[in-house]
């Protein structure tokens, strides 16, 4: 006879789980009581949101399912932002929540929340366990849905009496989904259609999203892009999927994308979308998005088609299947000569105005930092101006090397996510880039970093504002900086010291020289190579802005390239 809690843990082991993130509390205590000797390592964060973001970081960098645990009521509701985040960014995540005992459900008992109902619209699948007998099937099915198709979040809510009850346990089970006609995949016949569309095109482009990473199709993708040799760009989650040195690569597209990428996207007559869902930050005004183009949309999740802009040819399926099929067809045909178009789209007239970031010390700082990172490092960016600067300057070909909260834009994501990444990749340099606003949203996870002795390298780009909101206030709200002033920030260096983490401050002036001084370079090298956690607080000009920028609701062709001089 085994307790329900032991069965849960055995089923987790059967799903390959050896690490979970969580925070204990009343209703989930039986599960914590069973952890010892289960083979499942538990990492205590200092807030449930920290746990779920850490599980996301782990999942995003490994491709495995991340697991977070919390108790009922406030413990469960504190997971909600992370669950929504995982839904938006297609992150495989299983959240296990304790629930009040079965007899109390529906009575507004102490720490009772209908977490099943609360998360219904945010999850891919969820269950409230009603009998101990269900536990093996529920866990097997939950993990299946978390990792299948377009990955996403799952919630399994287990009343505390189910965790305490005992039953005969014959072992974990496997889940086999019911076959549905709607699950049929593209049959391969799409390939000659796309070739025909390419042959009729004079300005084709390719847009790469996260799908190629999630499908583990990076080698196939790169072979295809080399073959096509057409102007190519990536979403923020597609960064690293394309070799940054490829002559056809134009960088990031969208609201803060490069001039070359956004211009090519506006001019193209055939857009190949490879594993991106075309959200509004990528498209700008959807009625003026790629206005001359036919769109071929490679997508694993049919629900993502036609949300913002209708496509002309959907190709439903895993990129690991559809890309090779497409390329096999391509090899049998000769494509038109796109070199003239490529020369224009990738030409010097559309290059960045300030490629070295000489006018913007923070960009120079990020360039210095990134250029000194060891190969295969992982950068985790929080949300805001620093996130977009980091995305713009990211030059690695490591597909899972740039991690950020893209769809939901959850401030406070980076520090706990970095905990999960560092635990998944203990020998990798993990660089967490935050703003002063976002860092304070989960600053308590400095305690987790210290407790675990994780050598995470943390950077705060400190402009003493909620910078991205302030930028919008400056540009679109007549400089009415309503409630974005953070000039009374605490001293982050002192705070880090209180958590026993080495910390120092770097002034913006250190980046005014090009190249930087030997002393500054050495300081950055020491920071990155330290065997311990380090915090670097970089003083950023309060009113530095991110450009290019496409104003909300504008077309990509209407991007602002640089600051207009003030009168």
């Amino acid at each position: 006879m085994l307790k329900g809690a032991d069965i849960v843990l055995q089923c987790l082991r059967a799903e390959g789980v050896d690490l979970v993130f969580g925070y204990p509390g009343g209703a989930i205590m039986p599960l914590y009581d069973a952890l010892d000797g289960s083979g499942v390592r538990h990492v205590l964060t200092r807030h449930e949101q920290g746990a779920v973001f850490a599980a996301e970081g782990y999942a995003r960098v490994t491709g495995k399912v991340g697991v977070a645990m919390a108790t009922s009521g406030p413990g469960a509701t504190n997971l909600v932002t992370g669950i929504a985040d995982a839904k938006m960014d297609s992150v495989p995540l299983v959240c296990i929540t304790g629930q009040v005992r079965s007899a109390l459900i529906g009575t507004d008992a102490f720490q009772e929340t209908d977490v099943f109902g609360v998360t219904l619209s945010l999850t891919k699948w969820s269950r409230l366990v009603r009998t101990i007998d269900e536990i093996p099937e529920v866990i097997a099915e939950g993990f299946y849905w978390a990792r299948s198709g377009r990955p996403g979040p799952v919630v399994i809510d287990i009343p505390t009496d189910m965790l305490k009850a005992k039953k005969e346990f014959s072992g974990p089970v496997k889940f086999t989904p019911h076959a549905r006609p709607a699950d049929a995949k593209a049959d391969g016949g799409f390939t000659d259609t796309i070739v025909a569309m390419l042959q009729q095109s004079s300005k084709p482009v390719a847009l790469v999203g996260a799908g190629a990473k999630l499908s583990e199709a990076i080698p196939d993708l790169r072979r295809l892009l080399d073959h096509l040799n057409i102007p190519t760009f990536a979403t923020v989650h597609g960064l690293g999927a394309v070799e940054p040195e490829a002559p056809y690569y134009l960088g990031m597209v969208g609201m803060h994308g490069t001039r070359a990428a956004n211009t090519a996207l506006h001019e193209t007559d055939l857009l190949l979308v490879l594993g991106a869902r075309l959200d509004d930050r990528v498209t700008g005004d959807p009625t003026r998005f790629a206005p001359h183009a036919k769109i071929v949309h490679f997508e694993i999740d049919p629900a993502q088609l036609d949300r913002v802009r209708p496509c002309d040819l959907p190709v439903i399926g895993n990129l690991a299947d559809t890309i090779p099929a497409f390329q096999a067809e391509l090899r049998q045909h000769t494509l038109p000569d796109f070199s003239g178009w490529r020369a224009v789209a990738c030409g010097p007239e559309r290059a960045e105005l300030d490629p070295r970031g000489l006018a913007q010390p923070t960009i120079r700082f990020l360039d210095e930092l990134f250029s000194r990172l060891p190969e295969n490092s992982v950068i985790i960016a929080d949300v805001g101006q620093h996130q977009m600067w980091a995305a713009q300057r990211y030059r690695s070909s490591s597909p899972r090397g740039f991690i950020t909260s893209g769809g939901l834009g959850s401030m406070g994501f980076a520090l706990p996510a970095a905990v999960g990444v560092q635990l998944a990749k203990p020998d990798t340099c993990v660089l967490c880039v935050s703003g002063d606003g976002g860092f304070q949203m989960n600053i308590q996870e400095l305690a987790t970093v210290h407790r675990l002795g994780l050598p995470v390298k943390m950077v705060i780009i400190d402009n003493k504002y909620l910078g991205m909101v302030r930028q919008w206030q400056q540009l679109f709200y007549e400089r009415n900086y309503a409630e974005t002033d953070l000039s009374d920030n605490p001293d982050f260096v002192e705070i880090a010291k209180a958590y026993k983490i080495h910390s120092f401050r770097m002034k913006e002036d250190a980046m005014r020289e090009f190249p930087v001084s030997q002393e500054t370079g050495d300081q950055i090298d020491r920071f990155l190579s330290s065997p311990q956690a380090e915090l670097l607080v970089f003083d950023c000009a309060p009113e530095a802005n991110v450009f290019p920028m496409v104003p909300a609701g504008a077309a990509l062709s209407e991007m602002l390239l640089e600051e207009e001089p003030t009168q």
Partner: protein, 99 residues
């Protein structure tokens, strides 16, 4: 417009079906759910535009325990348009793309 969604009556599936409509701000003036052979079927009346029809179909199909989605007279016309769901015959998509 009437929609008929066939589903396995597992926890939350009906709520997910309804949520696909409510999250788009659509009123749901009539809902009728009942057992249908070994499964369940819910019939919804919704005031939707053409774009929303496609979105709803695809979103309902993405729910784990939804088996089939159908609709009233307008259904056939919608489905042979050029934004098919997964599983649509490739020939339809091909001819639409070439149109």
């Amino acid at each position: 417009m009437q929609f008929h969604v066939r589903y396995r009556n597992t926890q939350g599936t009906l709520m997910r079906i309804l949520n696909a409509a409510s999250k788009r701000g659509l009123d749901i003036p009539a809902v009728h759910a009942e057992p249908a052979e070994r499964d369940h079927q819910v019939t919804l009346a919704l005031d939707v535009n053409q774009k929303q029809v496609g979105q709803l179909y695809r979103e309902w199909y993405s729910i784990a325990d939804v088996i089939h989605v159908g609709s009233g007279a307008a259904h056939t016309q919608t489905w042979t348009g050029h934004h098919p769901p997964a599983g649509v015959a490739i020939e339809e998509a091909r001819s639409a793309a070439r149109a």
